[in-house]
Symmetry: C2
Subunit: 306 residues, 2 copies
């Protein structure tokens, strides 16, 4: 079977297949040894659906509801009120980092292990409010195929997300085939302490890194240790990662997904307050980015890889 | 050939071989799947010699000498004076973090790529002042064998160093067989910017993380994504990593190297100002640490693995 069956023939699919062939052909001018083949993918809006809100915001809503059960005053105070009432307009006004920091504050004092247990259980059952199926079933099938194709060609695939690193790690292996250590994400500072004879990392309310924009290449270098050969994003928050990738020496590929498919998903770009795509559309050619149109380039949008 | 030929038979060697056998025996009570087998090693004093000063301090001395050539006033100002004169007593008084921050300040404004080029060139030729051979030939042969033995048994081996992550990454693959992305170390903050059409990460003077003590388990969790099964250190700065490792569920092994061999290396522990071993000796039994005596447990100290 030819690779990428859920991708329509066209410029984007050709660019991907040609690029992978070039960097993996021994003796070719663009050959790169397998141990240096790094591909980095944004998560929200690139690997799975981020509309009407990122998955982790829905997780936060449910967590705040649970807290409100034991602290009834919470539901009358902002920003908790907007979360509990799912007042999307107000929530979008807060911005992504503020929402993430709220999520962090909600889990301060918890061990990393306890947090992961809660996140894992939630992701095992919680359903997307519009699509009506589990969030982990809201992944894009063409991207799962692309991750597989890259790995089959010796690439290490990493997720580089603005979401919480420990949140995404609970599902990265099962959903994307990406080992937990290959997830780079936002994080809080922690405190190391002994609890009942076990060394634990306790989450603090203090932000460690908000892994968006310039922080993406910074954290890729710190944690993955090299410049990617291929990167894939969908918003202006991915542009630093895409340009860091594309401007490296030798053959590089930087891809930008455009959500232009109102029938099968949602058509949005400049207007999505939490994670807009605006500069990316205006400067794609300047920046050497390969635009991927969901409408034109994907034969199928959702579902597991065949 | 039996594994670990440079280790003498005894409690430490048995503990290692028994542990590796237990966690890799399918169906056994302590079996751990290969993808979860993580081993973390401190670098200075654990994998290579850190006496009379850590390798990176010698690098700093040479860098400051180079700077002093174009700024003659430097040699009369502290801390540069002590560095240039190799006044070890004064240098030791500064402490490890202060020296590291000085090293960082010395390279502020440089791209990560440019820094690595300088570090790589220096490490390719610079010689240890007492041992008279390249620093990269001052590694401990029993540890190279142990790294190999762990990898042969499906472990991922990581270096978790107080040294600068980009400094150590220049030699980790060639010297230790550890890919650069498996080095976790101290780091500075960076700024992402375009320079001559290429996205670059520029080193700032601001400390990102001093990867010592509690920062070791914190950064292991953040970057390697899981609690180690085995950890190896040699100073009190490794105790948090060792205890984080040892107190995890299931079989775990935490090893502490004691430099007690004045004939073949240097005998030191509580008195080494830059990186003392004191609490570790006092509490080894409480903490469940396996003490490794260089004098008693190692048949050979230096040299490449056979």
């Amino acid at each position: 079977m030819s690779p990428l069956p859920s991708w329509n023939d066209g410029a984007a699919k050709s660019a991907i297949l040609d690029f992978v062939a070039r960097v993996t052909t021994p003796g070719g001018p663009d050959f790169v040894p397998a141990e240096e083949r790094l591909a980095t993918f944004d998560n929200d809006g690139t690997l799975w659906c981020e509309q009407p809100l990122q998955t982790q915001v829905f997780f936060l809503i449910d967590r705040v509801k649970a807290l409100a059960a034991s602290d009834p005053g919470l539901k009358d105070r902002q920003p908790y009120k907007a979360l509990i009432e799912q007042d999307f307009k107000t929530l979008l006004g807060f911005g992504k980092q503020a929402l993430l920091e709220l999520a962090f504050a909600t889990h301060a004092g918890m061990t990393e292990e306890a947090f992961e247990e809660i996140a894992r259980n939630w992701l095992a059952t919680a359903k997307h409010p519009k699509l009506g199926r589990r969030f982990t079933d809201c992944t894009y099938r063409p991207q799962l195929e692309l991750l597989d194709h890259l790995r089959a060609n010796g690439f290490k695939t990493c997720i580089v997300t603005g979401g919480g690193v420990d949140f995404v790690r609970t599902i990265s292996a099962a959903v994307y085939g990406v080992p937990r250590e290959q997830v780079i994400g936002s994080s809080v500072k922690t405190r190391f302490e002994m609890q009942d004879g076990r060394g634990q990392l306790v989450k603090l309310a203090q932000l460690g890194s908000f892994n968006d924009a310039e922080a993406k290449p910074q954290n890729i270098s710190l944690q993955a240790g090299r410049r990617p050969l291929l990167a894939f994003g969908n918003s202006d928050g991915d542009l630093a990662m895409l340009r860091y990738t594309k401007t490296g020496p030798g053959a590089r590929l930087a891809l930008l997904l455009h959500h232009d498919d109102a029938d099968r998903e949602v058509a949005y770009d400049r207007d999505f307050g939490l994670s807009p795509l605006s500069e990316g559309l205006d400067r794609a050619t300047d920046y050497g980015l390969t635009l991927v149109s969901m409408k034109r380039d994907w034969a199928t949008v959702f579902g597991s890889a065949a």
